[in-house]
């Protein structure tokens, strides 16, 4: 008998602690030996920093990859996806096919984005092509809607750049860098309201890539009616769906918290738009998540001690095309409502069941292939090993355009069946 798992966390959240305690694990302090550390992204930076030189042993695991920011920082994610597209194109992959306007048919799933100040000239060029467009400015390193604003005139961005340059010199450092993305100004509205999707994705290893999708994601609704008019540009409640922002709105409801389950969304879309387009939408969402992970897999430090549960933010436009907005490394574990608490408790529970088999002291050399029974509300999204054993021609079929044609072979809707075959 190997003894009890020793855990530690620097995030004092009941959904975590209750889960650890339920398993009979033992809490230890920072200076003691530990097996499982659920840490914030600040801590992970220290743990893996060069000067620290801390080496994890085989019986230790942590909840972040050392350079998770390749995916979770807005600028780096965009950079990696752009690089991935070029690579696919160079290899002559059918994934990189373009339409007559030179747009990627399958890999165009992130809104046009530039880094500021670095890509300022490129941005101006793009802006002039479409001067009536609205753009959203986001600081690269911040989360929960902080520091975000919208612009629709070049003068606004010039003013911003002047202001920030004079204020301090650090503007040039990547910390204060911004991304500017084309704002999705035709979002799908339900009940006249704008929303985004928050989906949870677990990655247990990047090489080979193994990832799981949590079935119980949710839609986050703006409490204020969506009007794309420019006079409302300053009213952040209209545009941002982050709960952290919405909580400050007058209309915030503490019973449902503006959150609607993905199963509600599916029922609504299937009822009003039909089954085929709904299935296609969800297939495409799964597809862009897998592509985003494939895009960062080569640069990710695939440390065997690590796993990560990401919060994916996706916006659906009125043509039912999903757009990847950003990926969060430490999705909020704060519960805004009773249902939210249950959801997050179960999310952690299912995550632990996959990454810590049987709740025993981990051995990070295990093959990371959990049995189906422990998946809970997760479903396998992609398993590179399985996909390869099915033969390389599989990858050929992996374009969303062909997914519909494959409906016959996949029984029922994708929510219920396994999602492994088509990638």
């Amino acid at each position: 008998m190997a003894g009890k798992l020793k855990w530690i966390t620097d995030i004092e959240k009941s959904v975590l602690i209750n889960n650890f305690e339920k398993r009979g694990w033992i809490q230890v302090s920072e200076n003691e030996e530990w097996n499982f550390y659920w840490m914030s992204i600040q801590t992970i930076r220290n743990v893996f920093s060069v000067e620290n030189g801390y080496r994890l042993s085989d019986d230790q695991i942590v909840n972040h990859f050392p350079n998770h920011y390749e995916l979770t920082r807005k600028d780096l994610m965009v950079k990696n996806i752009k690089r991935y597209r070029k690579e696919q194109e160079k290899e002559g992959s059918p994934l990189a096919e373009k339409d007559e306007n030179g747009k990627y048919i399958y890999l165009d799933f992130v809104p046009v984005t530039f880094l500021l100040p670095a890509d300022y000239n490129l941005f101006v060029e793009e802006f002039r092509k479409n001067p009536s467009s609205t753009w959203i400015m986001k600081p690269c390193g911040k989360a929960q809607g902080k520091g975000i604003f919208l612009i629709n005139k070049l003068s606004q961005i010039k003013k911003w750049s002047r202001d920030s340059k004079t204020s301090s010199f650090v503007t040039q450092s990547s910390k204060e860098a911004y991304v500017i993305s084309l704002y999705i100004d035709n979002p799908l509205l339900i009940g006249g309201k704008k929303f985004d999707l928050r989906l949870y994705v677990l990655v247990s290893t990047y090489r080979p890539l193994k990832c799981y999708m949590y079935k119980l994601g949710f839609c986050r609704f703006c409490t204020v009616k969506y009007t794309p008019s420019t006079s409302e540009l300053d009213n952040m409640f209209v545009h941002l769906t982050n709960v952290a922002i919405q909580k400050h709105g007058d209309d915030y409801n503490h019973i449902h918290g503006g959150k609607w389950t993905v199963s509600n969304l599916r029922l609504y879309l299937e009822s009003t738009r039909g089954k085929e387009v709904t299935n296609k939408l969800f297939d495409e969402i799964h597809w862009i998540i897998v592509q985003s992970l494939k895009a960062v897999a080569p640069v990710m430090n695939n440390d065997k001690h690590c796993f990560e549960c990401y919060g994916y933010d996706i916006i659906i436009d009125d043509k039912l095309k999903p757009w990847l907005i950003e990926v969060n490394a430490s999705p909020s574990l704060t519960s805004s409502t009773a249902n939210d608490r249950i959801l997050k408790y179960n999310l952690i529970n299912d995550t632990l069941n996959i990454v810590v088999p049987n709740g025993e002291i981990p051995d990070c050399k295990w093959n990371k292939s959990p049995s189906k029974e422990v998946l809970g509300n997760y479903e396998l999204l992609y398993d590179e090993e399985l996909a390869q054993s099915e033969g390389p021609e599989r990858d050929f079929r992996s374009r969303p355009g062909q997914l519909v044609g494959m409906k016959g072979s996949r029984t029922k809707d994708s929510g219920r069946s396994t999602l492994t075959t088509w990638k």
């Binding site: 409490t223 609607w260 029922l267 709904t278 029984t411 219920r416």
Partner: protein, 527 residues
């Protein structure tokens, strides 16, 4: 809907009269006239040719659907000499009870007006009209002060009325016998027994495919779901109300539901309908009604806080405010035991010629009323379509859930059916709950009054409403209420108070409706 042969001519005459003034009648006439220019219409066989033409061009189907609607909605008088009063409600004591209940509601409404010195209705100043027009799509963001408004009544107030209802011609002997009804409802009405219910709901049987059971992950689609969807598409193409109604008894596929329900309810796609909705909307803009505040209050208290429906808050206002002004709703009072409340022009109290129906549709909303609309928001994103479907659902079904009547789908019959089923098939549970002061009806009443809206998960609720439409009856609500008690019987046997029993039954959102109904009706050895 069963009529003996002798009544048939009478039924036909009634139907002809009913349809004569309708838009469909003039459309048919116009089509027939236009068809005269067609080469296949011959003078020598004019009548037959036109009939054939109307058949091929789909107009015959439309007529059939209209006739079918009338048969479904109106209770045809069983005797040519039946009075209007009799058609509303045949039992005199029920009529009296309903009348005095209405008096109470109206009094409460009037006193609210007087207390707060607000008029029942007023014309909005121009500025306010403009503002409302701009805000039409986001009325939910408006936060009027509604603290001094209270719902006119809640289901539990209505339950008290039903509990105290007695038939003066029936001796309620104080000596309890094994026959006596130990529930709260003490009026003698005929309700179906389990054998009658299994016969009535035979399409829900164990050997018949059901959406809500046989479409689960474990069952391959080829066995039932695939074929069922295929048939559904065919039914939709046929545009036949009766076929659609039969079809949804086995459940309606999600993607077909909006269309098939509209077909069953005979909702037209004509542009006039949209125009009609726009007129109602214009009326909302023009006049402010006290009833609007009641609607606001109700939405804020119910749907706005609901995990499933909060998204549709604005749609609910757009439907309900128009509904309160829709005088075509008044037609349903011909077969509703209730009568529209009347108000009098100031200073003319009691003078019939100065009486006006208030609100204009004759329906005073109560606590939870907006939940009748909320689930429909999942099906129709076009407000005018949503509106029509709701209105038709109301005048066919929902009005029965808050009127005192002897109709088999009326709330009293549902309560009695629920209590009878529970008492005769789960006697131990029934007595136990009664002993601890937790009369089962006190818990299930609100479920039935709201047709389970807001209690079940939406997908399950829609499966339930499929069957309401399919059987043109609300009896399924009482059966489900009983089945829920049966399902939680073990836990309920352990409770010792009403509060504890309510806690056991507080969350129904995880229940699967169809398995519960099927097991209760067909699988349990209870006969």
């Amino acid at each position: 809907m069963l009529h003996s042969e002798g009544e048939l001519p009478f039924v036909i005459a009634h139907m002809v009269q009913k349809l004569r003034g309708s838009a469909l009648h003039s459309q048919l006439e116009r089509q027939a006239r236009i068809s005269l220019h067609r080469s296949e219409i011959k003078l020598e066989s004019l009548k037959e040719d036109i009939k054939e033409f109307l058949k091929i061009s789909g107009w015959e189907k439309k007529l059939q659907n209209a006739v079918y609607r009338e048969l479904n909605v109106h209770q045809l008088p069983s005797h040519p000499l039946a009075t209007a009063e009799h058609i509303k409600e045949p039992l005199a004591y029920m009529r009296r009870a309903q009348a005095s209940w209405e008096k109470r509601i109206l009094k409460s409404l009037n006193s609210m007006c007087t207390e707060q010195s607000i008029p029942l209705a007023r014309k909005r100043p121009i500025a306010e009209q403009k503002e409302l027009l701009i805000k039409w799509n986001e009325m939910g963001t408006d936060e009027p002060d509604l603290s001094h408004f209270r719902p006119v009544y809640a289901p539990k107030d209505f339950l008290e009325v039903l509990i105290n209802l007695r038939n003066p011609n029936y001796e309620n002997s104080d000596q309890p016998s094994f026959r006596s009804h130990l529930g709260l409802i003490q009026v003698p009405l005929q309700v179906k027994s389990i054998p009658e219910l299994t016969e009535h709901f035979k399409e829900l049987g164990l050997n018949i495919g059901q959406l809500g059971i046989d479409d689960s992950t474990q069952v391959p689609a080829e066995l039932f779901e695939g074929e069922h969807i295929h048939i559904g598409n065919k039914v939709f193409r046929q545009q036949d109300s009766a076929a659609a109604q039969q079809y949804v008894r086995q459940g309606c596929p999600t993607a077909l539901r909006a269309e098939l329900w509209a077909l069953i309810l005979n909702i037209s796609n004509q542009p006039e309908v949209m125009l009609y909705y726009e007129q109602l909307k214009a009326n909302v803009i023009l006049y402010d009604l006290l009833a609007d505040s009641l609607i606001y209050k109700d939405v804020k208290l119910t749907a706005s806080n609901d995990d499933f429906y909060f998204v549709f808050e604005d749609y609910l206002y757009q439907v309900l405010l128009c509904f309160s002004r829709d005088t075509s709703v008044l037609e349903h009072f011909a077969y509703n035991s209730a009568s529209p409340p009347k108000s009098y022009i100031r200073g003319k109290l009691g003078l019939e010629e100065y009486a006006v129906v208030y609100p204009p549709n004759g329906v005073i909303p109560f606590h939870g009323f907006s939940m009748y609309v909320a689930p429909l928001c999942y099906l129709y994103h076009e407000p005018s379509k949503l509106y029509q479907v709701f209105r038709e659902m109301y005048v066919r079904f929902f009005f029965r859930l808050h009127s005192i009547s002897s109709h088999p789908s009326g709330i009293i019959s549902l309560c009695l059916l629920f209590e009878t089923l529970l008492q005769s098939h789960l006697p131990q549970l029934f007595y136990h709950l009664r002993e601890i002061g937790a009369q089962p009806l006190r818990i299930s009443f609100k479920w039935m009054v709201r047709a389970f809206s807001g209690y079940l998960a939406t997908d399950q609720l829609l499966l339930l409403w499929d069957r309401i439409l399919g059987y043109n009856s609300l009896e399924i609500l009482a059966v489900l209420a009983t089945a829920v008690f049966a399902f939680r019987a073990v836990n309920l046997m352990e409770v010792t108070s009403l509060a504890a029993a309510e806690a056991v039954l507080a969350d129904l959102s995880t229940l699967k409706v169809m398995p519960l109904l099927q097991i209760f009706l067909f699988a349990a050895v209870i006969n």
